[in-house]
Amino acid sequence: MSEPGVAFEHPDVVLCPGGPMLLRGRHTVEDADGVPHETTRPVTAVCRCERSASFPWCDGTHKVLPPKLRPA
């Protein structure tokens, strides 16, 4: 409930079961080749299944993978 004085949870990192990692705020994500990628949105979805065509960002590809290839 919206009680004044109560702190709400608002984590910088959220792991989505079977899908991406959400990152809040500005960050630099370095891919496996050491190339840095800057986030540009208030919240960014970082690919965890490694199959995104927009890697390192999630493009929804995790949804068409068989369950065992989807991130925990």
């Binding site: 919206s2 989505c16 959400l22 949105r41 979805a45 960002w57 493009d59 929804g60």
Partner: protein, 292 residues
């Protein structure tokens, strides 16, 4: 005093409701802005809306034993409606794609606006969560990145008139119903659960289809500006679908658990209307069914 729905049905009723709803957005050139709150028109709007809502609810059966926050994304994935994006990706010709852009423009040129009605109606966590998503839809403060502006820019580059009432004469009934439903859900505080369920389903059926749209538009040599609109939605909606379910719907249910059924109703209705729209367009182009 009007007590029964006007006798208009089908296209006429849908068009009338669309016109009445538009008075709450940007109105029409040459039409008195005061008509937005004219009691007789509000009454007609109410009767047409009641009829629309009754028909939408009549098509819906609530799923059993599922939790919206935990199960909605998977449930949405499992509803295979007809996919226009698949047709655009591989087979559509240029005229079909331009036809699709014109009819989609009715919504894409005011994308996210019906959802903005909800902001004052939510508790603190749900309101903040919704604004986190909406801020991205509105370009994060940069007008050049605002999604409905990206679509307008893309339309102009493709040689299409980019104002949102320009193509109302060529849209099928299904498009008017999609738009009327968004306005109905947005304008009635009572339907805030349905509006947020609709949002979740809309966002969760966008990333992969937007990729197919972008590829199809490239195949047909459409201008980069319209391709950019779809490319933006590949990444943006991969974020938005997670936010719509895991933060916005979760926060809403935390405060108002009774709205869970309406979240499902809204999500179902979004997919159902899109499926009916997709079938209508394939029919209009003389194309057989394309699986999701």
């Amino acid at each position: 005093m009007l007590t029964t729905a006007p006798t208009a049905v089908g296209d006429d009723a849908a068009l009338a409701l669309w016109v009445l709803h538009e008075l709450h957005y940007r109105g029409f050139a040459g039409v008195d802005d005061g008509l937005e709150w004219e009691p007789t028109l509000l009454q007609v709007r109410g009767l047409l809306e009641a009829d629309l809502e009754r028909r939408l609810r009549g098509r819906w059966t609530p799923p059993q034993g599922l939790s919206f926050v935990d199960d909605a994304l998977e449930w949405i994935d499992g509803q295979d409606g007809v996919s226009l994006a698949r047709h655009v990706h591989r087979d559509a010709d240029r005229d079909q794609v331009l036809d699709l852009l014109r009819v989609r423009s009715l919504y894409h040129l005011k994308e996210s606006d019906p959802v903005s009605w909800l902001v004052p109606r939510l508790g603190v966590p749900a309101k903040a969560a919704l604004m986190e998503l909406q801020f991205d839809e509105y370009g994060n403060g940069d007008p050049n990145r605002l999604h409905h502006h990206l679509f307008a820019t893309g339309m102009a580059a493709a040689g299409l008139e980019p104002s949102y009432d320009a193509h109302v004469d060529v849209v099928p009934l299904e498009v008017l119903e999609q738009n009327n439903t968004l306005s109905l859900f947005g304008l009635h505080r009572r339907l805030r659960g349905a509006a947020l369920g609709h949002l979740a389903a809309f966002e969760a059926t966008s990333s992969l289809p937007s990729r197919r749209m972008a590829e199809g538009l490239k195949r047909l040599d459409l201008p980069p500006e319209i391709i950019a609109y779809y490319a933006e939605h590949v990444e943006a909606d991969a974020v938005h679908e997670q936010l719509a379910v895991r933060t916005i719907a979760a926060a809403l249910l935390d405060e108002e658990p009774d709205l869970e059924a309406d979240l499902w109703f809204g999500a179902f209705t979004c997919l159902d209307l899109e499926d009916r729209f997709a079938r209508r367009m394939l029919d209009r182009w003389g194309v057989g069914e394309v699986a999701a």
